[in-house]
């Protein structure tokens, strides 16, 4: 759990770093998520006050974008590309394999908290699919065996 004092002071620092910026909410939310791993509910009023908008508006933005999480993810985040060019190279059966292997569906986290599985719609690696992003790192030309090796290394 985050302690409130740290949360408030780090949020303040992030808000200060973006002060005066036009339309600063997305950059702020990206920084908050980079700092805490998700966008804590508790930080919303503080952000709203700094930008002079309502808390509901901040929440509306957080919930609109697929990237922002309202709760912490697992220790590792595996994003598998589900888009057409990767489909043409077997992305559907690869993701079925991954879901079976991890025992989770999209957007779920394994019970041991190790891996969160998410879909992504294109990583720009469309001529060497299926592609994935694992903890922010790109990988491509995946098959079941290559993915198993990668998943095996995640603890």
């Amino acid at each position: 759990m985050l302690d409130t004092a740290t949360l408030t002071s780090r949020t303040d620092e992030i808000l200060a770093a973006h002060s005066g910026r036009e339309g600063a909410l997305l950059p702020i939310l990206h920084d908050i998520q980079a700092e805490f791993g998700y966008v804590p509910q508790e930080s919303l009023p503080q952000i709203a006050r700094a930008l002079n908008i309502s808390r509901a508006e901040v929440h509306g933005v957080v919930s609109f974008y697929h990237d922002f999480r309202e709760a912490p993810a697992g220790r590792h985040v595996v994003k598998l590309c589900r888009a057409e060019a990767c489909q043409a190279m077997g992305a559907d059966s690869l993701s079925a394999h991954a879901r079976a292997k991890l025992g989770v569906d999209w957007h779920e986290t394994t019970p041991d908290g190790a891996v969160t599985l998410e879909p992504v719609f294109c990583l720009g690696l469309c001529a060497c699919g299926p592609a994935a992003m694992i903890d922010g790192k790109l990988t491509a030309r995946l098959d079941n065996a290559k993915l198993d090796t990668i998943l095996g290394d995640l603890a």
Binding site: V61, A127, A140
Partner: protein, 508 residues
């Protein structure tokens, strides 16, 4: 010894960083002096990671390279098992007309003198000597149309912004590149970021805008990193700042990162997102050109549109306009993807037929099986069967076949593809990514998935329902997300009816 190895996402995803370390380690072990340059990609994805070694006859290529291939790079190069020959002589490179991508893969993306020595800033230098109206006229005369998908003439858009009276105007570069099968924006930003900056500065001079944004999708971490460094470099060198090149007006650029919403590639949704709001689509009018970012006149252009400006200004509108087909002037970076033997980026004048692209340039499928369908123009583009492979690559030509070229991505599918599943996915994608503002898109896409599922269960009566639904989405949606989802759906249905003729499962 000068060695090149791309920092491009494709190369990195396929192990380039490990190869780079191995090269440095081996060179130091052998006591060989080398300079390792992390360049952009040449666009030959099947050869990545592609190592290039500078020789007296030119740059020799080796790929796809893994760590085990490194020691042989320090031996007799002609004997290297991964040798592909001189890069410039490869048919893939020699067949292209590289204007926008002329420097991509050639130079060090973040080396300022490399950029200028390869023709960089020639276009900006010329623009700085011209009246703003003349720059706009030059862009109009080039025939350049927006490469983001809609194909709107860039010069006309710029004129609207130039003529608008406002204290503050903006140039917004759309680098959201959400379409599957497209990666031209990414490759350019990673491989030649200063070209995009130069194009945006020229757009500023032409329209009176002094501030630019590049809105890059969060799925592109390497492009974001390279662009941020390039902006810092351009500021340090006086290209950006209080006076462009020390003799122009002010212009500066800020990099912004998206947050995983496909619809934010739509220009009004993108503007809302830049303003820190939910990425919902705005009704047009007002046009962004008149009331865009923060209600001010704003040019919203795709990366490739803006990055084509420097070469147009440097070589002249006539040079650019002389290339192409019909009303599609200049070059287009084809992005050939999916189940493809030779996939990647191929910049060429408009006018090749789909068959020439798929069979001759791309060599058909990676699996070696027959090509069943090619989706052209991303998730909102139509599926083309072989019967339409004589369609020439151009805006009007594809529209004439109930399709679109979009951002020029092509996804090849072999004969194992199930076109009903592809139609279902098109609806599912629209449902996931809809901004929710208009009903035909938000509700229609959900009904679309259900209707395709009925057809899959053998309910042929659902086929006319699907067609009706598509007509409603096409005519009633606020933007092309709902409006164009019918393209992949109906093309799958019309060109591949056998895949929709499902037999009803026997009743229990």
């Amino acid at each position: 010894m000068k060695i090149y190895l791309p920092l491009d996402s494709v190369a990195v995803a396929l192990g380039a960083d490990d190869v780079a370390q191995a090269i440095l380690a081996y060179a130091s072990k052998m006591g060989v002096q080398i300079e390792l340059i992390r360049n952009g990609s040449r666009g030959m994805v099947w050869l990545e990671p592609l190592v290039e070694v500078e020789t007296s006859t030119g740059r020799m290529g080796f790929g796809p390279c893994n760590v085990a291939d490194v020691p042989a790079l320090f031996g007799d190069l002609s004997q290297h098992p991964k040798a592909v020959g001189l890069i410039d002589a490869l048919p893939w490179m020699a067949g292209q007309t590289r204007l926008t991508f002329a420097r991509c893969g050639v130079i060090d993306p973040l080396n300022f003198s490399d950029y200028t020595e390869h023709g960089g800033f020639a276009g900006l230098a010329r623009a700085l000597d011209m009246a703003s109206g003349d720059i706009v006229a030059e862009v109009t005369a080039s025939g350049l149309r927006g490469r983001g998908g809609a194909g709107f003439p860039t010069g006309i858009k710029w004129k609207t912004v130039a003529d608008a009276k406002a204290a503050q105007k903006y140039i917004v570069c759309n680098a959201d590149e959400g379409d599957s099968a497209t990666f031209a924006d990414r490759m350019l930003m990673e491989g030649d970021p200063l070209t995009l900056i130069e194009g945006m500065v020229i757009a500023g001079l032409a329209t009176g805008a002094t501030k630019g944004f590049v809105y890059i999708r969060s799925e592109y971490p390497i492009a974001i990193d390279v662009m941020e460094k390039a902006v810092v470099l351009a500021r340090a060198k006086g290209v950006l700042g209080a006076s462009v090149m020390g003799r122009g007006p002010a212009f500066d650029i800020e990099i912004r990162v998206g947050a995983g919403a496909y619809v934010c590639g739509e220009e009004t949704s993108l503007l809302n997102s830049l303003e820190g709001k939910r990425g919902v689509v705005r009704a047009k009018p007002p046009l962004p050109a008149l009331q865009g970012f923060m209600g001010q006149p704003t040019v919203v252009n795709n990366v490739i549109s803006l990055a084509s400006i420097p070469v147009i200004m440097a070589k002249g509108a006539a040079h650019y306009a002389a290339i192409g087909l019909g009303r599609s002037r200049g070059t287009i970076p084809l992005q050939i993807a999916g189940n493809v033997k030779y996939g990647g980026l191929y910049e060429v004048g408009f006018g090749l037929t789909l068959g020439q692209i798929v069979d001759d340039i791309a060599g058909g499928t990676a699996t070696g099986r027959p090509v069943k369908a090619v989706q052209v123009g991303g998730p909102l583009g139509a599926y083309f069967p072989r019967a339409l492979f004589d369609t020439p690559f151009g805006y009007e030509e594809f529209a004439g076949k109930e399709g679109l070229i979009g951002h020029a991505g092509l996804t090849i599918f072999d004969d194992s593809a199930d076109m009903l599943a592809q139609a279902r996915f098109a609806m599912e994608f629209c449902a996931i990514e809809s901004c929710g503002k208009c009903t035909p898109c938000r509700i229609g896409a959900v009904r679309g998935v259900e209707t395709v599922d009925r057809i899959a269960k053998g309910d042929a009566a659902a086929i006319p329902l699907l067609t009706d639904l598509c007509a409603t989405m096409k005519s009633g949606s606020l933007c092309a997300l709902g409006g164009f989802t019918p393209y992949p759906v109906l093309s799958a249905l019309n060109h591949f009816p056998a895949d929709f003729a499902r037999v009803k499962e026997a009743a229990e």
